[in-house]
Amino acid sequence: MYREGKIQVWQDYQKEIADNHYFYVRSCIRQNFFPGSEQTFLKIVRTELGKDIVENPHHTTCSGIGYHADIVPFDTIQTIVARQFALMTEAGYHNLAISCITSFGIYNEIIETWKEFPSELEKVRNCLKRATGREFEVPLNVAHAGDIIYKFRENIAARKKFSLINQHTGKPLKIVEHIGCHYSKMFPSKGVGGAEFPYVLAGMIESWGGEVIDYPERRHCCGFGFRQYLVMSNRGYSVSNSRKKFESMEPYKPDAIVSNCPGCPMFMDRWQYVIEEMEGKTYGENGQGIPVLTYEELAGLVLGYNPWDMGMQMHQTNVEPLLDKMGIHYDPDLKYAGKDGKLIGKPMMTGCGC
């Protein structure tokens, strides 16, 4: 594989990412499964990078999961999104920082729809006015939260406490990056590096000392498929697509998987457990799974944050193999503790690989 060719592609897809003053909108899935990642993001942006970022407790779900499971009509989601824009406008902000990839795709889809069908924008303005009395401006800059971490990856590297280097071998850690489908597959120019060779996570991994693994099923969907996971009897779709990816990445012996999507890291984490339960198969070393991280968790580890403060105990697949390789000290007894070390019981079974 020639790196020069990839560099060429990356150069073709440089997106503009606002430098400061962000209006933050949260992700439903991440608040449930990776709330610590959103906290970590805000902490990095505010305290490490010294940037201004605000959120408004009145913002809500964008209803994207409902929309992509087809129970929410297009007019409804457009108006809910317009309401988020109104909150941003009222706060005096123009730069949107979006935690969720599904939302990111939806915001882009809606803004593009308004460009192509101005009558839709008019309709939405009227609907929002009628429903809430609010008015809005379209954001000037739409960034995924990961874009912001990407933009400042070198600033993070400059403050790093740990590198993505295997402390036992001195070699770069091999990291698989997984990009949420709705990040750039719909609008390649909206994503750093485009749709085929996105650079948003690869750039972070490289800046922090790791090696990016490019494997054949890299571009394949994790298998969320909205209704294909939400409905119990459809979940075969979901696990079989994740499995395809694990099988494809296995020969490269990755040390970790990192994703910029809300759902993907959760699925790739949980399905490893399910596959182990069903087939006894594990994809990491020594019967372990491959740790699956959000990009904020990866950044936080590099910056020396406590993994349990970031919520990495909420993963089903153990992250300790990665922590050990990075030389990060952690207290195993505090992994499942509550606030201030309060004991709240442990998961019934954590000894297995996943």
Partner: protein
Amino acid sequence: MELYQELTRDVRFIEGLKSCMNCGICTAICPAAEFYDYDPRIIAAIVQSKDEERIEELLKGDTIWYCGECMSCTTRCPRGNTPGLIIMALRSLSQELGYFTESEKGRQQLAIKRVIGENIVYRGYCVLPENLVPELHPEQGPVGLWIYENRDEVYERVGANYQGDGEGALRKIPQEAMDEIYRIFEVTGGFGRFDKIEHFSKIKAESMGFTEDGDDYSDYVKYINTNNNGKHTRQ
């Protein structure tokens, strides 16, 4: 009703289907096509043919419900189509007309509406920690169970603001905000969609022998959530 004409009233359909030359580039990378007996190319070909009978078959069948809306198809299409958007327009119409209850996969819409739909309107989230009931989510594993059972403490430990006031992850969305979402659903036809899903599902449930039983057809919901005739995947 002219089904094709109805489809063209949806901007996503206009955007999704320009013209298809049946090259199969969408099917090649479609996660649904690898798993289900599904072919997005054929969906595009059928709607392009404007064959009302075959479009009706789509609206009443399982096929349109196989797509995962990952939108991988749009990146590649040499004609600028997005089969995923065609699917979204078909699914909307299928629900509008009540045809979704004719297929096993279509009927599942009620189960999604009951959880995700109601979360959105009444809580301001698509998903919530209390939805992750272990019996319904065995894939969440022992850690998921631990989180579920200790959710107040776990979310507090990782800095979330679960059901609290003010900012933060999983905060309680203020009532004024929820009132606005409610009105948006009223004004934009969101409740119209919900009502149709409920209405047609009720008729179907009755015809399949389920009764309301004072619990809003919960047996039917359980049935559609778990029923799988095993005939959907590629052999």
